[in-house]
Structures are given as structure tokens and as C-alpha cells.
């Protein structure tokens, strides 16, 4: 499984009902179903991903995150996973509001634009960063709303969410154990982490 999804999976309570926005090929939901007895639904728009998810028995609904999340009922899930997806939404703030309406709890995984390498690319080379974490050129990227961890945490607060847990990720998308030594300060995390997974409630 994608390393960051393993981090996500660790934040999910067994036997809960999970909605996975941007579920890709359904890896996470299949894992949650078989290991933790979770029931879930995925949402995606990529044809190859939808086929792969259906083939492995994951329920997926093709719809647009930005305009069609209203299809899901109020409080109809225990948790909404938004994994490497928020930055690709046209209206990330509205997606978060839907997370609150649909479940009240979310696991949000994002890349960190504040990583020192990205800052260096912009500051020293005067160019938008292209890296392992953000592999796309600026003109052809699904990531239309890049943010730093600090930006994102501000948005969580503005939308009335509390951060219950934050797991910083290294360049490979694994839980960055080494970063614990850096301490929990926002400043350090925002400089050193390639990304983060948040458990939020609101």
C-alpha cells in the first residue's frame, strides 16, 4: 500500500463506516475492509482507478468533489478520508465543510508546500518546485491549491475543526519518526515535513 495510506489507515477506528474522497484504485478501503472490518465507499473520477476499485470489490461512486458531495446524506459516515486530494479540489474549504456535514471527522493527508526544498526552489532558483513530492510542472498539475502545513492548519481552525492528531511524513510518505526530534513546533514541522496526515473533528 502507498506509505501515506498506511499512516491514514492507522488513524481509522475498526468497524466504522468510511467515505474515501479521491480513493484511487481503492487500496485503502480494501485494506480497511479486510483488516478492520470497515464498510466504505470511495469517490473518484479517474477511469482506470474506478475500474481497479470495482475489480477489487470496493464500492466507488463517480462524482465531482466540488459540486456533487451533496449526494451523501448528513452524518451518513463515521469518517471521511481526504487523502492527497484536498489540494486538487477547486474549493478545498467547501470540501472540508462537506466532511463536517457527512461525518464530522476527517483524515486529511496533504503535501507540504512549505518544505525547505520547495522554499529553496522558489527563493534561490525563482522557480515553482518540481520534486518527488510535487512531480508536476505548474501548468499541468492536479494540485491547483498547494498550501503549507501552517496554511492548512489555519484553514482547519477557520472552518471550526480541531486537530486531534498530526503525523508528519517524510519524502517517501512514511511517518517521519525522525521529525519527532524536531519537536512539535509549527515552524519546524512546516519546514521539515514533506507532508502530513491530520485527524480532525468538527
Amino acid at each position: 500500500m502507498r506509505p501515506d495510506l498506511e499512516v491514514v489507515a492507522k488513524l481509522v477506528t475498526p468497524r466504522t463506516r468510511v467515505l474515501d474522497l479521491g480513493c484511487g484504485d481503492g487500496q485503502l478501503l480494501a485494506d480497511l475492509a479486510s483488516r478492520l472490518g470497515c464498510m466504505g465507499t470511495g469517490v473518484d473520477r479517474d477511469p482506470a482507478s474506478l475500474l481497479a476499485a470495482i475489480r477489487r470489490g470496493v464500492s466507488v461512486i463517480e462524482l465531482d468533489l466540488d459540486s456533487q458531495l451533496g449526494e451523501f446524506g448528513d452524518a451518513s459516515y463515521d469518517l471521511v478520508v481526504v487523502s492527497q486530494t484536498l489540494q486538487a479540489a477547486r474549493h478545498p474549504d467547501q470540501v472540508l465543510r462537506e466532511v463536517r456535514r457527512i461525518a464530522g471527522h476527517g483524515v486529511v493527508s496533504v503535501p507540504n508546500f512549505g518544505l525547505w526544498k520547495h522554499r529553496a526552489a522558489l527563493a534561490l532558483r525563482g522557480r515553482m518546485p518540481v520534486s518527488a513530492e510535487l512531480p508536476h510542472p505548474w501548468y499541468d498539475t492536479p494540485n491547483i491549491h498547494l498550501a503549507t502545513l501552517t496554511d492548512l492548519e489555519d484553514l482547519f481552525a477557520a472552518e471550526g475543526f480541531t486537530v486531534e492528531r498530526r503525523v508528519l511524513l517524510d519524502a517517501a510518505g512514511r511517518a517521519a519518526g525522525g521529525l519527532r526530534g524536531v519537536g512539535p513546533t509549527r515552524l519546524a514541522a512546516n519546514l521539515m515535513a514533506s507532508g502530513a496526515v491530520y485527524l480532525i473533528s468538527g
Partner: protein, 233 residues
């Protein structure tokens, strides 16, 4: 729609259901088309108040049934499909003949569809089937999904694949979305895709690779799953 009904009636008998270009409740427009079709049949003098089979002097309301089928066929195709298939071509000439009979290719197609229908369909069946569709509204009962939901909760219910086609204006994607909404809210495992295809409602009969690949993926999984032999579509 039959598959949907079966799953609601006997969820533990149906492991997997594929619901394609369907509806859980016809719109006023759908019913209006049915009404005109029925009217064509019932106003045909040969209809004889439905007792045409008892009368050896008539073959029944063939004119009405053919007209009903011609009109229904218009709803099966998208405007784009008709434009591509027929355009404004003439059937048997290069120039208009300025007559009321068949001149355009699309007219010839509808005539043909109406005519061939007569050999394989009975007018009364047409009335009953269209009426059954008009009244079909399984979710009207708030308890409609209870049995299905209960079966799914213990892993013995029906898994659904619901598909629509973006050019289908007879049972547009909104019809499928409604089915998905109701099933999903009843916690029934449901997948949905809107397939891009230019042919209108008839896309479900045609070789649309993305459509076939999706059904294949669903059936591949169904074939491996316990109880995989219980299917409906």
C-alpha cells in the same frame, strides 16, 4: 429495473445486480411518451377494445403499434447519434422528392423499426409493459430498502453496479443518481459510473469499451466472491 426490484424483494437471493441506463421512477416526460404510444395503439380501429385476438378478420392494431415503436425509437437515440447515422441524407435519391412519404433516411429507419416490431411484439403486451414502467416506483415505500439494508448489514445482501450514459436523455444520469442515492443511504454496497458515449439510451446495447470494461470488472469480482453465482441485470 427488474433487477432492482428483485434485489429489493429477495436481497439474499441476488448477490450482484447490474442496473444499466435505468430508472426507479419515470419522469413526466417519460410517461408522456408512453401515453402517446399507448394512444396510437388504442385509437387504432383494429384495436377493438383489446379483443383483436378473438376477431379472425383483423390482425390487430398494427398501424398503432408501429407508430408507437417509431416514436419510442426516437427516445432511444441521442440527437448526435441520429445526426451521425442519418444526417439529412435522402433515402433513395440525391435530391428531395417533395412528397409526404418516406424521403429522408431517418424516416426510412423509423419505418423499418416500426414494421419489424410487429412480428415480435403484441400490442397488449406493449400496453401492459409501458404501464408497468409508468407505475414503477419501488422507493415510494419508505420501508422499501429495509430488507436489502438488513441483508447487506450482515454481508448477505446485493452488491450493485449502477451505470448511466451521458448522452441518454430517456433515462438520464439523474435517474441513476437517484437509485444510487437511495441505495447508498441504505448502506447498500453500490458502485456508480456515468459512461461517456454518444449513442443515447441505446448505448447499453452497443460496443462501448469503457462500459463493457466496467461491467467486466464488476463481474470479475463477483465471480470470485462467495455467492458469486447469484446475479441479476
Amino acid at each position: 429495473m427488474q433487477a432492482l426490484q428483485w434485489a429489493l424483494d429477495a436481497p439474499e437471493e441476488v448477490g450482484h445486480a447490474v442496473v444499466i441506463a435505468a430508472s426507479s421512477r419515470l419522469s413526466a416526460q417519460n410517461i408522456a411518451f408512453s401515453a402517446v404510444a399507448r394512444s396510437a395503439i388504442m385509437r387504432d380501429p383494429e384495436f377493438a377494445e383489446g379483443r383483436y385476438a378473438e376477431d379472425p378478420t383483423t390482425e390487430g392494431p398494427r398501424t398503432g403499434l408501429a407508430i408507437a415503436r417509431m416514436m419510442a425509437h426516437i427516445t432511444y437515440l441521442s440527437e448526435q447519434a441520429m445526426a451521425e447515422k442519418f444526417g439529412r441524407r435522402f433515402q433513395d435519391s440525391d435530391a428531395p422528392r417533395h412528397r409526404f412519404g418516406v424521403d429522408f433516411a431517418v424516416e426510412s429507419y423509423l419505418e423499418h423499426q416500426g414494421r419489424t416490431f410487429l412480428d415480435r411484439f403484441d400490442a397488449l403486451s406493449y400496453l401492459y409493459l409501458t404501464r408497468a414502467l409508468d407505475y414503477f416506483d419501488p422507493f415510494a415505500d419508505p420501508a422499501a430498502t429495509d430488507a436489502l439494508q438488513a441483508s447487506c448489514a450482515v454481508g448477505r445482501g446485493t452488491r450493485f453496479l449502477v451505470l448511466s450514459f451521458d448522452s441518454d436523455w430517456r433515462f438520464a444520469t439523474s435517474h441513476s443518481r437517484r437509485i444510487v442515492r437511495v441505495l447508498e443511504r441504505a448502506r447498500v454496497p453500490t458502485s456508480f459510473r456515468e459512461i461517456t458515449a454518444p449513442h443515447g439510451h441505446d448505448s447499453f446495447l452497443l460496443d462501448v469499451p469503457e462500459y463493457l470494461a466496467t461491467v467486466r470488472a464488476f463481474l470479475d469480482h463477483a465471480a470470485q466472491a462467495p455467492g458469486g453465482s447469484r446475479h441479476a441485470s
